[in-house]
């Protein structure tokens, strides 16, 4: 058993002429909650795609729970709970059937009802997902991610489309999973939520990890005030980086 849930070494992902992820090295320990921050298009989802083997690195290696997602993808994903970004549920399938499908495929015997209770969806358990609002779909996907007590939760933009209650639910669940010693890796561009739940934060910009550390460490690095919000920090880091790149071009 590896001590690290996620280990990326020099991972680069190129699409035709664009570099989505650029020489990314990153480690998430097996009991850590890691917030993966960055503006839209920074390469967060691409990175997560490589963890799940939706996509494969052009260069570098990725190890998830000690295994290579490219060769042992199914085994790796058996131990992962995954909430993808820009996914779609099956419109005609009920919430219960969605969960039953995941439960059966993972070969565990969780109770769909209990899982939906955790995300607050029990009242629509037999309704087809096609009738759900964006927030309800997001809750459903979160319940699916929780099937089989995963060792690692990968949540890609989990707050998308959620109302304040939903945001609170996600945060509570992340908190509960943390206490269960699940590693959590989640990406977000909604900054306020990240500081509330994360042990460590990495800031991705233009495919590069431009800063990494605890909130305090990040603050210290830019000589920010003690009460500098994560938003200030984020802007400071990405702004510098933007300036650096534009100057570099000139």
């Amino acid at each position: 058993m590896s001590d690290n849930s996620i280990e990326l070494r020099g991972v680069t992902k190129r699409f035709d002429n664009t570099v989505a992820v650029d020489d990314l090295s990153l480690t998430v320990k097996d009991d850590e909650t890691y917030g993966f921050l960055g503006p839209n298009g920074a390469g967060k989802s691409t990175t997560i795609s490589m963890l799940l083997d939706y996509q494969r690195p052009t260069e570098g290696t990725a190890r998830v729970l000690g295994q290579d997602p490219q060769t042992d993808g199914a085994e790796v994903r058996a131990k992962i709970g995954n909430l993808p970004d820009q996914y779609s549920t099956y419109n005609k399938l009920s919430a219960r059937r969605h969960l039953q499908f995941v439960i059966d495929t993972k070969g565990v015997d969780d109770d769909p009802e209990r899982l939906l209770e955790r995300v607050g969806l029990t009242d629509v358990i037999n309704e087809p997902a096609g009738t759900f609002s964006q927030g309800m779909k997001q809750r459903l996907a979160l319940a699916m991610a929780l099937v089989g007590e995963p060792e690692l939760l990968i949540l890609d933009e989990p707050f998308t489309g959620l109302d304040p209650h939903g945001v609170r639910t996600v945060r509570d669940i992340v908190q509960a999973e943390r206490e269960r010693d699940t590693a959590v890796f989640f990406s977000s561009h909604i900054l306020g939520q990240v500081e509330l739940v994360c042990d460590r934060i990495g800031i991705l910009h233009n495919g590069r990890l431009i800063a990494e550390g605890t909130l305090d460490e990040l603050r210290a690095n830019i000589d920010a005030d003690e009460d500098a919000s994560i938003e200030d920090i984020f802007v400071a880091y990405t702004h510098d980086s933007v300036r650096a790149t534009t100057e570099g071009v000139r």
């Binding site: 795609s49 799940l52 083997d53 199914a74 995954n82 996914y87 549920t89 059966d104 993972k106």
Partner: protein, 301 residues
């Protein structure tokens, strides 16, 4: 069998889709073609031949239509991220899709076969149960072949429009609708022999060679027709059973025969009807095999 739940989900989706059962009705409607010539040729087994009627053009069109979007649609919408994020390999995803769809569409085709069988039983009396079972099984194998080909196209295309154009212009039209004309044309180009063309010296009889026969039955639909004609016992030919009966019974002076036994003195082994099974097997395996190579390498989304 990690893919079993996925197959079951696919299956449920298909049998709950109204279009699937509308398809069954259309199959029955197109299959039921009473024919004096047909009845003279095969007697009460004409009931079995009704299955071949619907399997010629409508079955491939329907199965392809109901299957070619299975992966590309989910890839575009993003729901493919669900199975691919689970403990399933990419191979599992292809297998689950094909298995679930084949059983689902197979069920709809089976119902059509049974409906025609039931009607025929009352109308024409008892047919050969063995032949009926053989033709039904061949038809279900044909469904598997079609689902497999459609899934292959769905797995390798990145845009829905490419899949649509590919499945019609690249597959259905040449291979199912116009294969005979294409083979005819190619044969004419190569051998210089047109089909019953009027020449200066009168009408030139169309006398195709072995390669013509082979080429004709390499298309999956024709391989199916050869197999079912074999079961019906009408003759070794890659055309609908009524046409074959017409040629054997009312052998017209016009044109050469499309039946192997009458056209060729000493037919080669590869023109044996059983080879049709091999042809179908290849169609079931080769396209999806090539798609598998592509689908399991590189990025899937």
């Amino acid at each position: 069998m990690r893919w079993f739940p996925l197959a079951r989900k696919e299956f449920r989706g298909i049998v709950r889709y109204k279009g699937t059962w509308l398809f069954t009705l259309l199959l029955v409607y197109f299959g039921y073609q009473p024919s004096y010539v047909g009845y003279q040729g095969v007697g009460s087994d004409i009931t079995i031949a009704y299955i071949q009627n619907f399997a010629t053009l409508l079955l491939p069109l329907g199965v392809l239509l109901l299957s070619y979007r299975s992966i590309i649609k989910e890839r575009r919408s993003g729901s493919l991220k669900i199975p691919l994020g689970l403990p399933l390999t990419r191979t599992d995803v292809l297998l689950g899709k094909i298995a679930g769809r084949t059983v689902g569409l197979g069920a709809s085709v089976l119902v059509a076969c049974l409906a025609l069988g039931g009607y025929g039983l009352v109308r024409y009396g008892l047919f050969s149960p063995l032949r009926f079972v053989a033709v039904v099984l061949t038809t279900l194998l044909y469904v598997l072949v079609l689902v497999s080909i459609a899934t292959a196209i769905s797995a390798v295309t990145r845009r829905a429009i490419t899949a649509t154009v590919g499945v019609f212009a690249g597959l259905y039209l040449p291979l199912f609708a116009f294969w005979r004309s294409i083979v005819h044309w190619v044969n004419g180009m190569v051998t210089g022999a047109g089909a019953n063309t009027a020449t200066g010296g009168g009408v030139q009889t169309f006398a195709p060679g072995e390669s013509y026969f082979l080429l004709l039955r390499l298309a999956p639909g024709n391989a199916y027709t050869v197999l079912t004609n074999w079961t019906l016992g009408v003759g070794n030919a890659a055309r609908g059973y009524i046409g074959v009966i017409q040629q054997t019974q009312f052998a017209s002076g016009m044109g050469g025969s499309t039946i192997v036994e009458t056209a060729l003195q000493d037919p080669p082994v590869y023109l044996h009807e059983a080879i049709g099974l091999l042809v179908l097997a290849l169609w079931a395996v080769v396209p999806i095999g090539l798609a598998w190579l592509r689908f399991t390498r590189g990025d899937v989304l």
